[in-house]
């Protein structure tokens, strides 16, 4: 890998440390910049998904509404789910993986900086590809889990499913590349003295997430390939008339899909496990229990998938098995909740914005977890599944859980990333609006679901009793909109402040708070040696509360990787391959071959990029 030595001369060092300009961002391999790219892009998609949701809520705000046509509604609900899962929550988590993992383990960068950049570009291009479908009036409209045989060519003849199928494939490549990178980084690049059981909990949860990504994504990759073969080449994997089985799709999808939801929540678990101790002024309660419960959840997460299929009539033995494993997985989840409360217990709680969101996370996640337990009983679930009850459940865990957790992380690490603290008063306003808006929107869904409202319906008649609850939910979604406007304003207002946040505004326990805000390109002037958990608290304790050694301004003599554009070229090659498959009717095998050639050029040039 090509590297360069940072300059001796202080003036040059300052100039070189902060390259500006578009090209520097396009060719960056700096994990911090890549993190910011992930975050900004993901946040944009998050807002897009939010607008999609708002439109859905407007349609559902009154019975028999004609605000949206059924096909538009179906595209919007599909894209809302797909966007939030793949283009918002996952890459927002990736922002934190990118920015923080090297800092928290005391490393200068990730194991494979160019692979890191590659995964970002593939994500961006995949997200753009998926959303370009709107331009063709053919946004995916088959639901985010795309059940066969609705997705067959016969019942979905348009481009909608193709965009979804190929778009997800592209995004899967981004996730896999990043997962290999972070897996190796965590295992291999920890500072001296940082054993696995001394790592910050965020690093642990992220590490487990990478394992889930590595093992779950190949399964959906195969499922999407089989679907593609059915749609493009006429095979019958999921087509009943050809001997295929739609249920096979469900199994393959959910073997991926269930670990996927743990991929969505574990990083937030990790973030909350960082924020709570700092703002309780005491260590995380039950570190080992937290590690092992995380590992157990991940492992068992591969054994519960058919609880998404209780209504398919798998038979009593399968139903029983999956009911029991699903109940089992509630145990380590509960352990975590109790350990978080245990962290707060006896502490000196500081109610700054990150802490509010972390506590909100716990409160909301408990509700989501409990409705999950209610689903775990198949005969009861047969009334709940595919109704708004399950919509309530997964929004409590994904929004009340993941989004609240990620927001806590945003407020917490904002000063480190941008050198400015977000405004506290606006932050508190954001929190309360979000908490109230969220509960107004999603709590009634438990009831309207049990009262008979199925999910994925573009309207409902009068006379079923759904009207009032839907009105409340729609009102709640407007409160949420205001909450996000407050957040946007906070970000904008903060960006105009001087960049003068201290290195350690919160009295943090982990290594990222020992370096400037924002950190220099090389992160640590000297790689620290770690002697225990909460390494920075330990170091400060030994120095009467002071941060270790004055921070060197110059990174003289430090090897840092060179910027490169080959990751972007290769990413474009990946996109080209999938686009060429989409238009194979027009450009034929030649088009695919050309795309593969571009891909090969990118990979080859990347591999043989000269050193220094």
């Amino acid at each position: 890998m090509a590297t360069r030595v940072l300059d001796q001369h202080p003036a040059h060092a300052a100039a070189h440390g902060e390259k500006t300009g578009l090209w520097s961002w396009v060719t960056t391999v700096d994990h911090k910049r890549i993190g910011i790219l992930y975050g900004a892009t993901a946040f944009f998609f998050f807002l897009l998904g939010g607008v999609e949701a708002l439109l859905l809520r407007i349609q559902l705000g009154s019975p028999e509404s004609t605000f949206l046509s059924p096909d538009t509604y179906n595209q919007l609900f599909t894209m809302h789910g797909t966007t939030m899962i793949f283009l918002a929550i996952m890459p927002l988590s990736a922002m934190f993986f990118n920015y923080l993992i090297p800092l928290q383990i005391g490393a200068r960068d990730v194991a494979f900086p160019r692979l890191n950049a590659f995964s970002y570009w593939v994500f961006l291009l995949g997200g753009l590809f998926l959303n370009s479908s709107f331009l063709f009036g053919a946004a995916p409209d088959q639901g985010w889990f795309g059940y066969a045989n609705l997705t067959s060519k016969q019942y979905s003849p348009g481009l909608n499913v193709d965009f979804w199928m190929l778009g997800l494939q592209i995004l899967g490549i981004a996730s896999l590349a990043a997962a290999v990178n972070f897996f190796v980084t965590v295992l291999n690049m920890r500072a001296p003295g940082m054993t696995l059981m001394r790592m910050p909990m965020f690093v642990w949860m992220s590490f487990i997430t990478q394992v889930l990504l590595l093992l779950a994504f190949p399964v959906i990759t195969v499922a999407l390939i089989l679907l593609m073969y059915d749609r493009f080449f006429g095979s019958n994997f999921f087509v009943p008339s050809g001997g295929g089985d739609p249920l096979l799709w469900q199994h393959l999808f959910w073997i991926f899909g269930h670990p996927e939801v743990y991929i969505l929540i574990l990083p937030a678990f990790g973030i909350v496990s960082e924020v709570l101790p700092v703002f309780s002024r005491k260590p995380l309660f039950g570190y080992a229990a937290m590690v092992f419960s995380g590992v157990f959840i991940a492992f068992l997460g591969f054994g519960v998938w058919s609880h998404h299929m209780f209504s398919t009539g798998m038979g009593p033995l399968a139903d029983t098995f999956f009911a029991l494993t699903t109940m089992l997985i509630a145990i380590p989840t509960g352990v975590k909740i109790f350990n978080w409360i245990g962290t707060m217990w006896g502490g000196s709680l500081q109610y700054r914005t990150p802490m509010l969101f972390a506590i909100g996370f716990i409160a909301m996640f408990i509700i989501g977890g409990l409705s999950g337990v209610m689903h775990s009983s198949p005969p009861a679930d047969l009334q709940q599944t595919d109704t708004y009850f399950v919509v309530a459940h997964f929004h409590y865990v994904l929004f009340g859980g993941s989004i609240f957790g990620l927001t806590a992380g945003a407020y917490y690490w904002w000063p480190k990333m941008f050198g400015r603290l977000l405004d506290e008063r606006l932050g508190k306003l954001h929190f309360w609006l979000m908490l109230i808006g969220f509960n107004l929107t999603f709590f009634p869904m438990h009831f309207v679901g049990l009262h008979g409202m199925p999910r994925r319906v573009y309207t409902y008649p009068e006379g079923l009793g759904f009207d009032l609850m839907n009105q409340i939910e729609t009102a709640g979604s407007f409160v949420l909109t205001v909450a996000f406007l407050v957040f946007l304003y906070n970000i904008f207002k903060t960006s105009r402040q001087p960049r003068n946040a201290p290195a350690d505004p919160w009295n943090g326990a982990t290594l990222e708070w020992s370096i400037p805000s924002p950190p220099p390109e090389f992160n640590f002037a000297e790689i620290p040696t770690v002697h225990g958990r909460d390494a920075l608290w330990e170091m400060k304790r030994q120095r009467g509360g002071q941060l270790p050694e004055p921070i060197r301004a110059s990174g003289a003599g430090i090897h840092m990787p060179n910027p490169s554009y080959w990751p972007l070229v290769t990413a474009v090659g990946v996109l080209a391959v999938f686009v060429s498959l989409m238009v194979i009717g027009h450009t034929g095998v030649l088009g695919v071959a050309a795309a593969i050639a571009l891909l090969f050029v990118g990979v080859y040039m990347w591999a043989y990029e000269p050193a220094g």
């Binding site: 046509s69 096909d71 059940y147 066969a148 045989n149 609705l150 008339s241 295929g244 089985d245 249920l247 309780s280 002024r281 005491k282 309660f285 039950g286 080992a288 209504s311 398919t312 009593p316 109940m327 509630a330 145990i331 509960g334 352990v335 109790f338 409360i341 245990g342 707060m344 217990w345 000196s348 709680l349 109610y351 506590i359 716990i362 409160a363 408990i366 409990l370 409705s371 337990v373 209610m374 775990s376 009983s377 198949p378 005969p379 009861a380 047969l382 009334q383 109704t387 009831f447 009262h451 008979g452 409202m453 999910r455 994925r456 319906v457 573009y458 409902y460 008649p461 079923l464 009793g465």
Partner: protein, 348 residues
């Protein structure tokens, strides 16, 4: 001491919350005709009992855990100048306790669950009434092999006799949901699924498709008419008289509209997708069987009330009412529609 206070407070909380839940779940089928919370059939009762069990435990856990959280939020609020709190790292005993107790609670849920799984998967006895359900995009077909009759979107069942549903799909996956008597079960094109229930109260109940099945998934409702056994038998007997109609046979004497409507039904091509034969009905028709269309409560799978005006609207502009439905707009004029309505209204 603390435990007793907490327990007392919790039980009050649970009651309060329980009342709130029940109030919000305000139970009357007039207000919530499609609710799952007022079971009127045995299968639905099994599901509801389990829901009860899980809700009770969930409420208990909710009150306790959120209560402790809330307590901690207030009790341990930091004040400026606070000393560093005691740096506890964990407590193994407490870890064991809060692993074992949830496990026990889950076991308490698991036992009735497993029993109910086997109950709900049992095969109904020989005296059950078998009804075949076929999901179509976007309507429901119901066949009664015992009586050799077929109908669509409106299922009649006798109160007090077990109904055994044998289900499939004509195209994509749908889900047949009978919240008042049973629950839901998906239907597939390549395998049979089953569900059973015994209706325990008379009435007219709505249900809906519960698996996304395409553009009009939201308009794929059905109705179950649970009748006294004698009334059900009368309905069956009547349906058994509805074979394919010879032209002009049932025409009320001198009814011009009816005769015109009958001619149009063939002339416009409706006959290609719809059959009037309740007995020996052909299989795999694109459109619902219309043998008793005149007396059904709803049109287009629960989309419109079955009035003359709505029927005329539907005939003239199905795409405008239920976009994407497989029934095309055939350029039927207002006058033609009136004739067709007269013809169809007589098919009861």
């Amino acid at each position: 001491m603390l435990l007793r206070t907490v327990a007392r407070r919790s039980s009050r909380w649970i009651t309060a919350l329980g009342l709130l839940v029940v109030t919000l779940a305000a139970c009357s089928t007039d207000q919530y005709p499609q609710t799952t919370l007022l079971p009127r059939g045995d299968f639905a009762k099994i599901a509801d009992d389990l829901l009860d069990t899980t809700v009770r435990w969930a409420l208990l856990v909710f009150v306790l855990v959120e209560g402790v959280l809330l307590y901690a939020v207030f009790r341990f609020r930091g004040k400026p100048g606070d000393a560093e709190p005691h740096q506890t790292h964990g407590n193994t005993t407490v870890e064991v306790i809060w692993t074992v107790i949830p496990a026990l609670i889950l076991a308490a849920i698991a036992v009735p669950t497993v029993r109910a799984i086997f109950q709900t998967n049992a095969t109904p006895g020989k005296d059950a009434l078998t009804i075949e359900v076929v999901g179509h995009q976007w309507w429901w077909e119901f066949r009664y092999p015992e009586f050799n009759i077929t109908t669509a979107n409106e299922m009649h069942v006798p109160v007090g006799r077990m109904v055994s549903l044998r289900m499939g799909s004509n195209d994509v996956i749908h889900s047949f949901w009978v919240p008042q008597f049973a629950a839901k079960r998906d239907v597939f094109a390549n395998r049979e699924t089953r569900m059973w229930f015994t209706a325990q109260a008379e009435g007219d109940y709505p249900g809906q498709c519960a698996e996304f099945c395409g553009i009009q998934h939201g308009r794929m409702a059905h109705r179950i008419k649970a009748q006294k056994p004698e009334e059900f038998q009368a309905w069956v007997a009547h349906m058994q008289t509805l074979g394919p109609k010879p032209p002009g046979a049932a025409a009320p004497a001198g009814d011009q509209q009816y005769a015109l409507g009958e001619k149009l039904f063939t002339g416009k091509g409706c006959i290609a997708c719809h059959s009037f034969a309740a007995v020996n009905a052909p299989k795999g028709m694109v459109g619902p069987n219309l043998a008793n269309i005149g007396s059904r409560s709803y049109l287009a799978a629960g989309t419109l009330k079955n009035t003359d005006e709505n029927l005329a609207r539907w005939i003239r502009d199905p795409q405008g009412i239920k976009k994407g439905v497989l029934m095309p707009n055939l350029g039927v004029t207002e006058a033609e529609a009136q004739a067709l309505v007269a013809y169809l209204r007589a098919q009861k």
